[in-house]
């Protein structure tokens, strides 16, 4: 039986006018460059003490975000983890709003009330970034249950890391989604490390997500998470299944984060050569080569790089100039009436 990865790969190599097409490829390339440039900038701003609190970068994992978002339709919902900048940007949220939130300024996506780990933009379908491991898998089930109950055709897509596969909520959500046949797609970004510890050292099976799929009656899916085309095709297949009442999917994407777990982590635990190996499989490098191989002019690709760099530069300046959040915000939106009153 062909695996999902085989199915995706089999469609590759047909040139620019294949099932993905030039416009979508350029869009996914651009998305990856936006994430790369914005996150690299976030790291630089951290070194200048302008990014406060914590931040968890997805450098090296851009293809997962670009592929899954690229295959979504308007109205589809993303549920992210604290490593959620990439998925938020991939849904079209502006770099300025993301960097503003990381820099805890008034122009931030949530005006500094949430911080890096909780990026949320409901108007873009980004239904939150969740910082408690596993919490959002059941929440994504609930959004999918609403779609099923109301006959809506949107899909809820839930991203999480390999470490999440060992927490109870992962298993509760998988069983729940399978039993209720919910239109939800669970996406595990396996970047080999839970935080500092290799996931293989603490997991009973080699593929932390995919090897659990059979327990919930789901297909075992492991794909190359550094190839946006493979990710896109796999996402499309899962979304189509979800929209046609076929129930949930669990997809494990093999990828790698180029930086540490969070800004505080220099990632010294990695064996020699591992980072270099994965950098040779850098998703943006892979995709740039693909575009050129398919005949996209170098000028077009370079033009995207230049355009994105300017966006990130402009966003950086706007954030540096932005004031801190208004003190009035401290007591807003605790309750639905907009305030915080707990007594009369």
């Amino acid at each position: 039986m062909a695996t999902a990865n085989d199915r995706a790969q089999a469609k590759a190599g047909a040139g620019l006018n294949d099932d993905i097409g030039e416009a979508k490829r350029l869009e996914m390339y651009r998305t990856q460059v936006v994430i790369r440039e914005a996150e690299q900038r976030a790291f630089d701003l951290f070194l200048q003490n302008l990014v406060k609190g914590t931040s968890h970068l997805s450098l090296g994992q851009e293809a997962v975000a670009a592929g899954f978002a690229g295959a979504m339709q308007k109205g589809d919902l993303s549920f992210c983890t604290y490593r959620g900048h990439a998925h938020t940007l991939a849904r079209g949220v502006s770099v300025e709003k993301v960097l503003g939130e990381l820099m805890q300024r008034d122009n931030g996506l949530m005006r500094g009330k949430g911080g890096s780990m909780h990026l949320t933009s409901v108007e873009h379908g980004v239904m939150g970034s969740y910082a408690i491991i596993g919490a959002h898998l059941p929440i994504a089930c609930g959004a999918a249950w609403r779609a099923q109950y109301k006959g809506h055709k949107d899909v809820s897509v839930c991203f999480f890391g390999d470490g999440t596969t060992n927490i109870g909520a992962f298993h509760e959500a998988l069983n729940f989604a399978a039993v209720w046949k919910l239109p939800v797609v669970f996406v595990c970004e396996n970047n080999l490390y839970m935080e500092y510890t290799p996931i293989a050292d603490v997991t009973a099976v080699p593929q932390p997500a995919a090897d659990r799929a059979s327990a919930y009656g789901l297909e075992r899916i492991v794909i190359d998470g550094n190839d946006a085309d493979v990710v896109y095709r796999t996402a499309q297949e899962a979304y189509t299944k979800a929209r046609s009442n076929g129930g949930p999917s669990l997809i494990e994407c093999l990828t790698y984060r180029h930086s540490g777990h969070s800004r505080a982590d220099p990632a010294k635990y990695r064996p020699d050569g591992e980072l270099e190996h994965w950098k040779s499989r850098d998703p943006i490098k892979i995709y740039r080569e693909r575009l050129l191989q398919f005949g996209v002019p170098e000028k077009t690709v370079a033009g995207i790089d230049t355009e994105v760099r300017k966006i990130v530069d402009d966003a950086t300046e706007a954030c540096k100039a932005a004031p801190p959040p208004s003190v009035d915000l401290i007591t807003t939106d605790v309750y639905a009436d907009g305030g915080w009153a707990w007594r009369n």
Partner: protein
């Protein structure tokens, strides 16, 4: 008018809201075909069908997480956690997710849902199926916390909770399920954040919640009959929002204050109210305010032991009498 049990009031309250609004859905363990372990949801599955009344696996995190995801995207779920003690296995949703998503997202995310749960002691179930956990919930900004003491309040406060745009923890008392009360016909909708003076009096104020309300009333009756002490009993009903005006008003009238709390001693809701009264009504008091609570222990299972540790009408009456006489 009809005489209803507290248990039947739960059924009527849920049905009233589900009939009114097709976006109200109800999930939990054994709540559908089985009608609930406390038989407090019997008939809802037949009345509203398997899409609106849905049985779940024993997965409390999935239940509350799913309720939240549905609430965020347009439904108004009622989720049942069978015993409130089980909040401990899904506390992430109660403490971190429901109450903080609106704030952290700067108002973008809504979470209009109700968690119903069987709370409290008296069933001889032991330390993990008998707790009164209202204080676990009261301490979290962003939640509303409600605990009715009688069938009419069950319907009215449940309706208010379902219609409230915030996450509401609705604590039903297990020992009250078989108790009866007269309930008027037609739709009943109450207001959250309103305490109720259930027995007016002039000598002292007794604040109580849920099962402690009938016990406080019984104590008040005894104190009046045997000692001529005229107690005002206030059913707090809603811990968040807290109706401090009714409480402070009662203290201003009687000049004495007792709380009757089923929760263990430390950090009970009565302590918070004492602090408010000390801050804002200190000079209204003619004597020390007194908390009557369960001691700071896990609950024992044996009936003889459990009856000693939960505040009883006798203990309430005795404490009030001694305190007023001293």
């Amino acid at each position: 008018m009809a005489e209803l049990t507290y248990r039947d009031a739960v059924i009527r309250g849920i049905a009233q809201e589900m009939e009114r609004d097709p976006d109200v859905v109800f999930i939990g363990e054994d709540v559908g075909k089985a009608g609930g372990v406390f038989k407090a949801t019997v008939g809802l599955y037949d009345q509203f069908g398997p899409l609106r009344v849905r049985d779940t696996p024993i997965s409390e995190q999935a239940i509350l997480g799913a309720a939240m995801g549905a609430a965020m995207t347009g439904l108004k779920p009622i989720a049942e956690i069978m015993f409130s003690d089980f909040f401990a296995v899904c506390f992430d949703y109660i403490a971190n997710e429901f109450p903080k998503s609106r704030y952290m997202s700067n108002g973008q995310v809504k979470c209009p849902l109700v968690v119903r749960t069987g709370n409290g002691g008296g069933s001889r179930f032991g330390a993990q199926h008998s707790q009164s956990v209202e204080n676990w919930c009261m301490m979290i900004p962003g939640l509303k916390v409600v605990a009715p003491s009688n069938p009419t309040d069950v319907i009215g406060l449940l309706a208010a909770s379902v219609r409230d745009p915030n996450p509401v923890i609705f604590l039903e008392h297990k020992s009250l399920y078989p108790t009866k009360g007269e309930v008027r016909d037609g739709e009943i909708v109450d207001t959250l954040g309103t305490a109720k003076i259930v027995r007016p009096g002039k000598d002292t104020t007794i604040l109580a919640l849920a099962l402690m309300v009938p016990r406080a009333l019984e104590a008040a009756k005894k104190l009046k009959a045997e000692y001529g002490i005229d107690c005002e009993v206030v059913d707090v009903r809603s811990l968040v929002p807290l109706d401090t005006q009714t409480i402070l008003g009662s203290v201003a009238k009687t000049h004495r204050l007792f709380t009757v709390e089923e929760n263990p001693r430390l950090c009970g809701w009565g302590a918070e109210i004492m602090s408010i009264v000390a801050d804002e009504a200190f000079y209204d008091l003619d004597g020390p305010p007194v908390r009557i609570t369960t001691p700071h222990i896990p609950l024992p299972a044996a009936d003889t032991l459990e009856d000693i540790v939960l505040p009883s009408p006798q203990r309430i009456a005795e404490t009030v009498r001694r305190s007023l006489n001293s």
